[in-house]
Amino acid sequence: METSTIIFYFFMLMTLASAAFVVTTKNVVYAAFALLGTFFGVAALYIFLNADFIAAVQVLVYVGGILILIIFGVMLTHRVMDVELRVKTIQVFPAFISALLLVIILVTVVLETRWPLGEAEQVTSTTRGIGMLIMNDYLLPFEIISVLLLMALVGAVLLARRER
């Protein structure tokens, strides 16, 4: 077994374990921090997939942006809800069963399908390639995405405003 394989499995398990923790823990703050681990794990997986740009973007946006946002959200609402003694989860059993079934099905599909694999590519920097694609083939989606971001920005501010 090669070292890269072992490291791969490590990162894979780290991701999945963190994700499992996020999903199951009762404490939301812990869950937020576990989510950090998941994101990093995913970023590592990206590296393994030669997607250096994506990995960087993942860390920047997810960890640096979304995770911060989530932690803010947790912190803003956590303290107040702390005194509650109610159950933190609902309909666990049916959800578990259906999720399990789903994963079984998906895994079966994945393993059974004969994927049309192509030849391996050189390991190069993908940044330039991605940039070229965005600016040439995916220009419209790019523009739309920027408008969407603007909308999200305005919308978020509007929604979260407290009425005077």
Binding site: A51, L69, I90, L111, G118, G129, Y138
Partner: protein
């Protein structure tokens, strides 16, 4: 097991997806539900990138995942705004208490 194949990544993605779905279906805390959604999106992203590497598609998969990440960010912002609005109006962040449309 000797080589890391496409299936490895796809399975990872599938499991991650199910976990995220489980979190969405199960958790009462709205923020926790948001986390579940992020997991789902990440799982999809992994699939995209994996396919980008292992099939003859070039970098299209990666471009998609860029867009997905951007969308995830926007959506997270809006979701958070909604959660706050929900909190201010219903004084709760437990989603199962937002059952005004209960039959």
């Amino acid at each position: 097991m000797a080589e890391i194949t496409l299936q490895h990544y796809l399975v990872t993605g599938a499991v991650l997806f199910s976990l995220g779905l489980f979190a969405v279906m199960t958790r009462r805390n709205a923020v926790a539900v948001l986390m579940g959604i992020e997991l789902i999106l990440n799982a999809a992203n992994i699939n995209f990138v994996a396919f980008s590497k292992y099939t003859a598609g070039g970098l299209n998969g990666q471009v998609f995942s860029v867009f997905v990440i951007v969308l995830a960010a926007a959506e997270a912002a809006v979701a958070m705004a909604i959660i706050l609005a929900l909190y201010y109006n219903l004084k709760t962040i437990y989603v199962d208490e937002a059952d005004r449309m209960r039959g």
